[in-house]
């Protein structure tokens, strides 16, 4: 059992509560969508924690659904709401994402699994393909949601940081967005460490990712108001 996913879950759920509290105080769909995305992130790491203790097909599917399909897309859609204020594009994307997410829930939870093969001493990301049979549609939506989520979340943070840099205003928001972009990239790059056999770095990258996004959000919101 690795202790790092425990810390990732704690950090992420505290972060979720902070963002949701800010939404209750100020409103704004971007904050609500970020809170939803962070809650999914927390559910994913929590599923990872339980899979390190005991095997459950439900937890493996929850881990895949949250970690590989929904988290980045919901966080990214929050960023879309923040950056695209005019027109109905952001609302339309949110409704499309809600529909695709429901389809993803159905696809993942109806996927057949090979329960015998799971080894709790290995991380889920190293062995899920041997356990869970993913249909072509599941793989397609995983790629689509991942690319959409990563591009909007990381790309949006980089773009925001660039704008603050170019105008030389609100340094705290510029540094905050840099941290958010780096934090969002961290778990994705962690998969590369896994392929190199460095399992601890995968868990560390998830914790660093949550921590950097948390720090970036606090930094970006501490002085200036929306």
């Amino acid at each position: 059992m690795n202790i790092l996913p425990w810390f990732s879950s704690i950090v992420t759920f505290i972060f979720t509560a902070l963002v949701y509290n800010r939404y209750l105080q100020r409103g704004g769909p971007h904050l609500l969508l970020w809170a939803v995305g962070l809650f999914f992130y927390g559910l994913g790491t929590l599923a990872e924690v339980t899979l390190g203790l005991t095997y459950s097909a439900f937890m493996l599917k929850l881990w895949y659904l949250m970690g590989a399909m929904l988290t980045a897309a919901w966080l990214g859609t929050g960023t879309v709401h923040l950056l695209i204020r005019k027109g109905n594009t952001a609302n339309l994307l949110t409704w499309v994402l809600a529909g695709v997410s429901l389809l993803a829930v159905f696809l993942v939870f109806s996927a057949p699994v090979n329960n015998v093969a799971y080894d709790i001493s290995r991380p889920a990301s190293e062995q899920y393909k041997e356990i869970m049979t993913r249909s072509g549609l599941t793989v397609f939506f995983t790629i689509l949601l991942n690319i959409y989520g990563t591009l909007t979340l990381v790309g949006g943070a980089i773009y925001s940081a660039f704008l603050f840099w170019r105008k030389k205003v609100l340094a705290n928001r510029m540094y905050g967005n840099i941290l958010i972009a780096a934090g969002a990239l961290s778990p994705a790059l962690g998969g590369t460490f896994l392929k190199a056999g460095l399992v601890d770095f995968l868990y560390l990258s998830e914790l660093l990712g949550a921590g950097m996004m948390f720090a970036g959000f606090v930094l970006a919101t501490q002085k200036a108001d929306d």
Binding site: N146, K168, V169, L185, L194
Partner: protein, 48 residues
């Protein structure tokens, strides 16, 4: 009392003036790398 509009502006030092653009470029490269890795990994082009 400082002017609020003026106080939001910042003037980067000589080092930060070079570091920030480099960091932003690195993040863009990282984003591109992750997109490629995600596709290759999920279609099993990279064995896991």
């Amino acid at each position: 009392m400082p002017d609020p509009k003026h106080s939001k502006r910042f003037k980067p030092g000589a080092v930060m003036d070079k570091v920030i653009p480099a960091v932003l470029i690195l993040l863009v490269l990282g984003l591109a790398a992750v997109i490629v890795l995600v596709i290759l990994s999920l279609i099993d082009a990279i064995p896991s």
